[in-house]
């Protein structure tokens, strides 16, 4: 259950720092950092560096993504930026441009 939800019709320009889950359905520009999971839903736009725990990305993300856990690019996601995480999965149909940095 997400504690912070950025709804579909909302734009946040600045920084969001959460000690909990964050779900993005709308637009975030700036910086997004969560202690817990981050979900970028289909239709969401994130133009920000994103850091946090487990991440599920289905929307559009422009910026570097750093996770302490796993990053999952779902089908339909558009990610431009470097992704650093312990585990990364990219689903068939996800668009991705950037470096991948896993703990090898």
């Amino acid at each position: 259950m997400a504690s912070t939800v950025i709804g579909a019709n909302i734009t946040i320009e600045g920084e969001v720092i959460a000690d909990e889950d964050v779900v993005v359905q709308g637009t975030v520009r700036g910086k997004l950092s969560a202690k817990d999971g981050v979900t970028v839903e289909s239709g969401a736009v994130v133009e920000a560096d994103v850091s946090g725990g487990p991440m599920t990305l289905a929307g559009q993300v422009t910026g570097n993504v750093t996770s302490t856990d796993r990053v999952e690019l779902q089908s339909g996601a558009r990610v431009v930026g470097n992704v650093k995480a312990a585990r990364i999965t990219i689903a068939d149909g996800a668009h991705f441009k950037g470096n991948v940095d896993m703990d090898v």
Binding site: M1, A2, S3, T4, V5, I6, G7, A8, N9, I10, T11, I12, E13, G14, E15, V16, I17, A18, D19, E20, D21, V22, V23, Q25, G26, G30, K35, T39, G43
Partner: protein
């Protein structure tokens, strides 16, 4: 997880320093600093701390807000509300246990007659804040400018009396006694050039 048109929630362990805009509802449980302008309803819960001007169709407050509240419909300050800032809406309700420090105006949609009351706002023991009121009307501005000018004059005088820097200001101010300028000049520029 919420549906597509669900409200936006800023959770209690979340800090947002940003401009938040949009059409839907927003519930703030955590910390928000910046600006919050939405077309829907804003709910400020008990755990929330907000340092931002809020504009919305409707605002319900149960937490702490430092900033001006402007609503197109209504503002409800419920028990636990602590508002430091001006409150403007066609309907404003302050429930027992709601605390307000600032200017409260009901009866029109946020804007409007603000000019005639701007001085009253100043007179009230309102917070000394300089967040620009969203759209001040011309008369209000004129008023503010008049005040600013008055202050500028006072400052200019003070400067010329105290420090030699204020040559330009004195000229601009016009009212300052002219003899002061040369006297002060001697203290600084003239003295320096003589030494060299």
């Amino acid at each position: 997880m919420a549906s597509a048109n669900a409200t936006t929630i800023i959770g209690r362990d979340t800090r947002v320093r940003a401009r938040v805009t949009g059409a839907s509802d927003v519930e703030v449980q955590g910390h928000l600093e910046g600006e919050l302008t939405v077309g829907g309803e804003v709910r400020v819960t008990e755990t929330a701390t907000i340092a931002a001007d809020i504009r919305a169709r409707r605002i319900v407050v149960r937490g702490a807000v430092r900033g001006d509240l402007n609503a197109d419909e209504a503002i409800l300050l419920e028990e636990g509300a602590k508002v430091v800032g001006d409150v403007r809406a066609p309907r404003v309700a302050i429930a027992p246990g709601g605390l307000v420090k600032g200017y409260v105006e009901t009866g029109h949609a946020g804007e409007g007659k603000r000019a005639s009351h701007s001085t009253a706002t100043r007179a009230a023991p309102a917070p000394v804040r300089h967040a620009p009121p969203a759209k001040a009307h011309a008369p209000a501005k004129a008023h503010a400018n008049a005040n600013a000018n008055a202050k500028a004059h006072a400052n200019a005088k003070a400067h010329t009396n105290a420090k030699p820097k204020g040559r330009g200001m004195t000229l601009a101010g016009g009212k300052a006694p002219p003899p002061v300028v040369p006297v002060l000049k001697k203290g600084t520029k003239a003295a320096l050039t003589k030494r060299r």
